[in-house]
Amino acid sequence: MTDSARIARFLPVVILCAIGIAAAGLPFLHVAPNRLLSGVPQNPDSIALVVAWLLVAVAGCSRFRWLATACTAAMVITLPWLAGHDATQLLEGASSTTRIQTGAGFWTMWLAALLLLLDRVRGLRIAWQAGIWAGVAFVLVLGGMAGAFDNVAVMREYHAQRGAFLDALQTHLVLSLITLALALALGLPLGVWAWRAKRAGGMLLGVFSFFQTVPSLALFALLIGPFAWLARQWPALASLGFGGTGAAPAVFALVLYALLPVLRYTVTGLDAAPVDAREAARGLGMSRWQLLTRVQVPLGLPVLLAGLRIVAVQTVGLAAVASLIGAGGLGRFVFLGIGQGATDMVLLGTLAIIALALAMDLLFQGLHALAESRS
């Protein structure tokens, strides 16, 4: 191994472990008298954490790659477990409104551990990567179900809102998927058209760029009138849940926001087939349709999928605004939490949105890898 390759391999380990060790000086947990007031920092096991990070660093710099990966995965799992364990001890004899919140120390360390794991598995086969992440997620979920984190404030929020949370999670996912499906169904043909008719296409992109700048709340307020009118005119639509509030205006707005990137990436994807290839195909006597399906789509698919990955992640994040128009979703916890001054409730909604977005990202990454290997 050359020097520069060695540095490239060990640099992330050194940097991230240094961050982890430094974070031992930040508050790992906060003990707050209730949901609203700020807490007092607590660092019950800084020394143990410093030792753990040193071990991870040593393992990371060793020749055994699997050992490094295993140690890092263990760190990703241990940190939340430790927070849960400490929270239970800190709550002993405390009043029922007391909340044990995870502090900057915890989050910095956990992020460092996650990034390190990401770095360790990089270069492995995609199936291995997915397997390792799924394994870590599985252990964490299992621990959660066994009650290991129950006394951490975010989990307290989850338990207080359990039914509503699972509903919201499902709604959020469904809203995002419907939005993606509609954005694709509309965006792909529009994109092909915009690519062919360059000038009109430019105008179309301009129009959707404009929609991108309209704030969602203003858009919702504008949509209530016409959508409610439509529902009154066609009761069949209304019986399907279509109306001025609820899923209809939410999906409409989200599709509007998603169309611009879908259009952009479709156009870029179609451009991915070099002019030579297109002309050669025409020379072979291919029709425009054949050119599109046999040359441009296969060549442009990786670009398009890379774009869709961004659209999917963006849509999952944006779908939080759906709760402003009564469509539900995880945004409910974000906005109610902000109103109540309950950071943990905001965190509950945000973490779930991040998890969904990451899952989406992983899915499209897989599809992307598949398309890449085919083409």
Partner: protein, 279 residues
């Protein structure tokens, strides 16, 4: 029946009370509570996309651009005016409101109130004008809206300088009350809503408004006339459920959702059970 409510803390509780009362009356209901901010919920009701939601009487002053009307400073007249305006313009019926009046107010730390004998906004004006060391946290809306701080200043004859105000753009009372309770950057007073759940726990003293600068904001279920005709029994049931909602009761219910983090539906169910009206 589609039941809506505002998305804020109190809106969630009031919406659940309406929802559960109607459900108990055997009326088929769809849960649209915590629908969104006032502008969205109100539009949805006016457009027939909702059938009922709890609104504050004083807000009718804004809906009909009659903020200056003295009628909105008196509980009975505010209700009468709101209900007649809305029946005529939108075929909406305001049921009898709860006695609680949830208006904007100024809350000061208990130690400051005690030391300076502050009970009303008159006392506050005297204290500020006598070079009292006030540092008040409020949202941009509270500091600028003609319905809030500027109105208090004009009526009680005091003026807060820029360096006596901590403006949190888009801030909620939860954030400003927290700042005052913890004395963050020396804040010792905060904008509050009189039914805020955080008041009891933080020990802020809400200053009285003897000159009635604020409009009266009593929560009342607002129903579409058409729907009320179909289910006339809902009027009595809802009014009975709203009648015991005093400022203290609402503060207590709000505190359960905001401070203890309980779910609004559970808090509403407990409240209704306590009224002998539960399932």
């Amino acid at each position: 029946m589609r039941v809506g409510s505002k998305a804020d803390n109190e809106g969630a509780v009031l919406g659940q009370i309406v929802l559960q009362v109607l459900r108990r009356e055997g009326i088929p209901v769809t849960d649209r509570t915590q629908l969104g901010p006032t502008s969205i919920v109100r539009r949805a009701l006016v457009n027939g996309d909702l059938d009922v939601y709890p609104e504050y009487t004083g807000n009718a002053g804004f809906f009909f651009h009659r903020e200056a009307d003295p009628a909105f400073r008196d509980a009975a007249r505010a209700y009468a005016l709101a209900s007649s305006l809305d029946r005529e313009a939108n075929h909406l019926v305001w049921l009898h409101p709860a006695p609680a009046d949830n208006h904007w107010a100024i809350g000061v730390r208990a130690d400051v109130a005690m030391a300076n004998r502050l009970r009303t906004l008159d006392d506050f004006a005297r204290w500020v004008n006598g070079n009292g060391r006030v540092y008040l946290a409020g949202s941009a809306e509270f500091v600028e809206s003609d319905a809030a701080l500027p109105a208090f200043q004009a009526a009680y004859g005091f003026r807060l300088r820029g360096d006596q105000l901590l403006v949190l753009a888009g801030g909620d009372t939860s954030a400003t009350i927290k700042a005052a309770a913890e004395g963050t950057s020396g804040v010792n007073a905060s904008m509050v809503y009189s039914t805020d759940g955080a008041l009891a726990m933080t020990g802020l003293v809400v200053l009285e408004d003897p000159r009635h600068v604020e409009m009266v904001y009593q929560p009342a279920p607002v129903v579409r006339e058409q729907v009320l005709k179909r289910y006339p029994a809902m009027r009595d049931a809802l009014e009975k459920a709203f009648r015991p909602l005093t400022v203290e009761v609402l503060q207590h219910l709000n505190a359960r959702t905001q401070i203890d983090g309980e779910d609004a539906s559970k808090v509403a169910a407990d409240y209704l059970r306590g009224q002998g009206a539960g399932p």
